[in-house]
Symmetry: C2
Subunit: 405 residues, 2 copies
């Protein structure tokens, strides 16, 4: 008998039939005596539908109200999931994030979990219930509804697993686990039996789409071992845990392509101290995450000026433009170029630390494919390049073949 | 400068364009210095869609989870309405029923408002906000989400108007006011400039569809004068208030047809004391409202037995059947007949008290139309008959012509 947190994403609860499948799976664990906390996302398509509705009202909806709106998505799913369990004669109670005791800061649409009070969950579990918690949402100390941003339901599951000291945290998704690359793009991709938090982090932050990096960071911080597995079958998934010795034997764990970034270039920014600080302070204050930053050497004959490029999540592009436009008078750049047609291609592996020539091999592979590199960024265990979005998938296949083929 | 509660129903907020219309109307009142609390329903179709979804999961969904599910409908609308006001540069904050301090009992799907703590609303109004409150919902003392049942948003508006001591309560709907009959069925129907609480109560409880009776009862109890008016134009609506002297001059204020009732007959119930009490106690305990009850004289040659008929709201039919089936062993009736194909036709008017021959005129009219009367029920200011649903609308037109034509 174990205490298990099971998280089901939007596709796994995409329609009533799939919600019933989730209930049947939960029932199997319940039948062997396990206590189960289920975390669910909004049914697939629902969140996007709500965002579309909001945009019909105003182009840049206010974030407090966006949270009020989006929180309905998961609330719908928890109620339906509880009903599906009742239909199997299992005791089950649904809780919104707020009711489940998930307290966050007040950064609407991107709130951070500050504390979880698991009292209500424990008391419902003790009374024999399956407890179904709305992922992705919480509340502020003064009672406002917040959402945790992209991938927030995974975060809810992992944070809950830590808070209730669960024996197991299973992240159910529409893939069998973590692959060496997205199998929908790279046919030869293979499932990994295990992966380290750090590799998973790089893959997550690089758009491998399996999980959002905050969730993995949280799991790493609190030592929550979790399994990414499919809600469509009973295959074992990929275990995500601390790095072990034999993981370094493999040079590259995986290849990822992030299509969700946009690149912004400030052309002819005065090259003087404090300019970059001013730009990224303003962007940070707007709670926009910047990923890559590249600044070239100074050029021009008069005032020294430089081009400053950086990438942000595509949904933040409009907000970023507003911030940058507001700084124009103060900073005095020449123009702003925004490019949504980029892809960020990355290779990841803890084995890079002990193997040389990895970057050269990646760049050679891209050159032989005729793919131009726009930006480069590296860490101890990953190399990322920004390339033309249209060439992204072909480049990904070539790099996968070179390292993992 | 007045403090106004404005309630907009599902049709008035049925799509983004209509929500923007609501915002523009609110803005006009705000521009003349009024403080406005807006109560909104779920967008039309949304609640039914959620109910359908729940039924795909299980035929008789649990009511606590039903409330969790349905509450998302209004929550969606409040967020969108707040955004629409923001788009007009008005300060606005949305509140769920729970956040607005609406405390209810714990009878899920039909909760009663027990108390309203208007602190949060007052503080947001004082800070210059339009406050948008989710109709139809509240929370129990221990934090569970409840809904108020059919027409609950009107109740929210009127209860809030009482709690915050509003100067005015406007119920916006898709009709211009209260009519002598539903103009969609009776072309000659006329709008009433005013109507008494009691007449409105009879019309509401009889399915005139303009408002639910609990809301009118609440308004009567707390002396909340309200106006029923259209969200599609600026025509004055119908003022609902205490009866005045000159109201009795009119014999019949209106004719209504309730298509939302179902009739249940227990055939050959043993005719002994306590049987009816047992039946309606069980139904009452299941929180099902019974409307008309008819018991005929005893018949049969052996044990004295009778037929017991009553009507309930159609959505309660399945639940009522369960209650009745469970009583079979104890009571020993012969069979149960359920009939959903009925309509309840009623005439209402405080003038009935001072005019005679009203019932006879109604029955004659129906007879001359060849409409058979199944059940009859009367009060001081109304006469209701149950007839074949298929003949309902024609019968309504005939009765309207006879009294008001």
């Amino acid at each position: 008998m174990a205490l298990i947190v099971q998280k089901f994403g939007g596709t796994s609860v995409g329609n009533p039939e799939r919600i019933k499948n989730v209930a049947r799976r939960v029932a199997r664990y319940r039948a062997q005596g396990d206590q189960v906390v289920v975390v669910v996302s909004a049914m697939s398509g629902v969140t996007d539908g709500l965002i579309k509705l909001a945009r019909e009202i105003m182009p840049l909806p206010t974030e407090r109200e966006m949270d009020m709106l989006l929180a309905t998505g998961e609330q719908t799913t928890i109620a339906l999931t509880a009903m599906a369990l009742h239909a199997l004669d299992l005791a089950a109670v649904s809780l919104t994030g707020s009711q489940a005791g998930i307290l966050t800061d007040d950064v609407h649409t991107k709130a951070k979990i500050q504390d979880i009070d698991p009292k209500e969950i424990h008391s419902l579990l003790d009374a024999g219930n399956v407890v179904i918690v709305a992922g992705f949402q919480g509340r502020t100390a003064d009672g406002r509804i917040t959402t945790l941003g992209r991938g927030g339901s995974d975060l809810t599951a992992i944070a809950l697993a830590a808070a209730i000291k669960a024996d197991l945290c299973q992240i159910y998704t529409d893939v069998d686990g973590v692959y060496t690359a997205d199998p929908r793009i790279v046919p030869g991709a293979r499932k990994l039996p295990e992966i380290s938090y750090d590799e998973m982090l790089e893959l997550a932050s690089l758009g491998a789409k399996v999980m959002q990096s905050r969730s993995v960071e949280f799991a790493k911080k609190f030592g929550v071992v979790f399994e990414v597995r499919s809600s469509l079958n009973d295959n074992p998934g990929t275990i995500v845990k601390e790095e072990t010795q034999n993981m370094e034997d493999v040079v590259i764990r995986g290849v990822s392509l992030d299509k969700n970034q946009a690149k912004i270039t400030l052309v002819a920014v005065p090259d003087r101290p404090g300019v970059a600080a001013r730009v990224f302070k303003a962007i940070g204050e707007a709670a926009i995450n910047v990923d890559m930053i590249v600044q070239n050497i100074s050029h021009g004959s008069g005032q020294p000026a430089t081009d400053l490029s950086f990438t942000v999540d595509k949904p933040d592009l409009l907000k970023t433009r507003k911030v940058i436009d507001a700084l124009r008078g103060e900073i005095g750049y020449e123009e702003v170029i925004a490019d949504e047609n980029i892809g960020k291609l990355s290779i990841v592996g803890v084995g890079m630390r002990s193997h040389s020539g990895v970057a050269a091999k990646m760049f050679e592979t891209l050159a032989s494919e005729g793919v131009n590199i726009g930006m480069i960024s590296t860490s101890e265990i990953k190399i990322s390049v920004v390339i033309d979005l249209a060439r992204g998938e072909a480049a990904m296949r070539a790099v996968h073949a070179a390292f993992l083929g």
